[in-house]
Symmetry: C2
Subunit: 203 residues, 2 copies
């Protein structure tokens, strides 16, 4: 039996709380009008066909890991879903600014947890990141999570997959918390609720 | 509140039971030695580099829908996982024979439920298929399921996505049944169990 997730309970304000900088970037909020003008040249370079909107294809070509490998397609789709505030299926300039700053925050975190500076996150480094994010998970589960998102079977996690794993874990945890009203670490689900929640994670 | 899935309860032997031919093909069992020799020429044609094993890439090139569009990559990976009995990550000849006959059974079902012969499954046709498969699901859920697997946003389901949707639904239902010991249509899950079951569906 696994302990309830620490993140679901009420939190003491200070003691044992990691520095704010060690915590994942907050979920996106709609960007103000305008965005960051310094990103305009980059946006224009990525917007190959000059429509003012980045397609999944254009964004895929622009998002690379530290070793210049392309992002996993699922991470690209996840970013679009998170930042496409007008639900157009594409990323406009303001949306791009939000996405870019979100990935920059993740990059800082990734570098912090990549203690041996290998450019990848090992299982040990991943475990430490999840502890810093205040998850309480068994070593067996952390290993399963790691291998699920080590999609290229490399035994280490590149930046794109680290971000994907952490965001997915956050989304799954949020669903659990939604049902765990009494915070006892157990939830009861009917058949269709169970299916619906899984389908949402597949998207 | 949704009713418990009909498929989980004990079944009366005869009345109201659809003809066996209307039900999805059973899950794969390891193939006997030898396989079907008539499939050898096809297997050799697909095995481009002549290793005697089909990679995901080779299989992707060979599996097409009725309109010759390529299979969704997730369906190809699902087929490999289901039929790769020796866990080599590739599909040998015997495994290929199982996979091929499984897809042929699905093709027959697909054609049966494609009542208007459009070459695709509409939402109505999908609903009818799920009823024939003895699922009891709300129209809202069936629509969500349909749109989740209509990955190309075409408003209809091609063969590959129909197979993927039906197999995923079966897998999710099997997980639910595993936890629903008393068959009341509700399950209780701890945090890690919940996460583990979702991760398994993502694979």
């Amino acid at each position: 039996m696994s302990p309830p997730p620490q993140a679901t309970g009420p939190r003491p304000a200070a003691l044992n709380r990691p520095a704010a900088s060690n915590r994942p970037p907050p979920s996106p909020v709609p960007q103000e009008e305008g965005g960051d003008p310094s990103l305009l040249p980059l946006f224009r370079a990525v917007d190959k066909n000059g429509t003012g909107q980045l397609s999944e294809h254009e964004l895929s070509a622009a998002l690379v890991n530290g070793d210049w490998t392309a992002f996993d397609p699922q991470t690209v789709r996840m970013m679009i879903r998170m930042f496409d505030s007008d639900r157009s299926g594409t990323i406009g300039f303001n949306e791009f600014c939000g996405l870019w700053s979100f990935l920059a925050s993740w990059r800082t975190l990734f570098d912090r947890f990549d203690v041996d500076r290998s450019g990848n996150i090992s299982l040990d480094e991943f475990s430490n990141a999840l502890i810093a994010f205040r998850y309480r998970l068994s070593p067996g589960f952390v290993e399963l999570l790691f291998h699920t998102y080590d999609k290229r079977g490399e035994g280490v996690m590149s930046f794109d997959l680290f971000v994907q794993a952490c965001i997915s874990l956050k989304r799954m945890t949020d669903v659990f918390k939604k049902y765990d009203d009494d915070r006892d670490g157990y939830i009861t689900l009917g058949f269709e609720d169970f299916l619906v929640e899984i389908l949402k994670q597949l998207r």
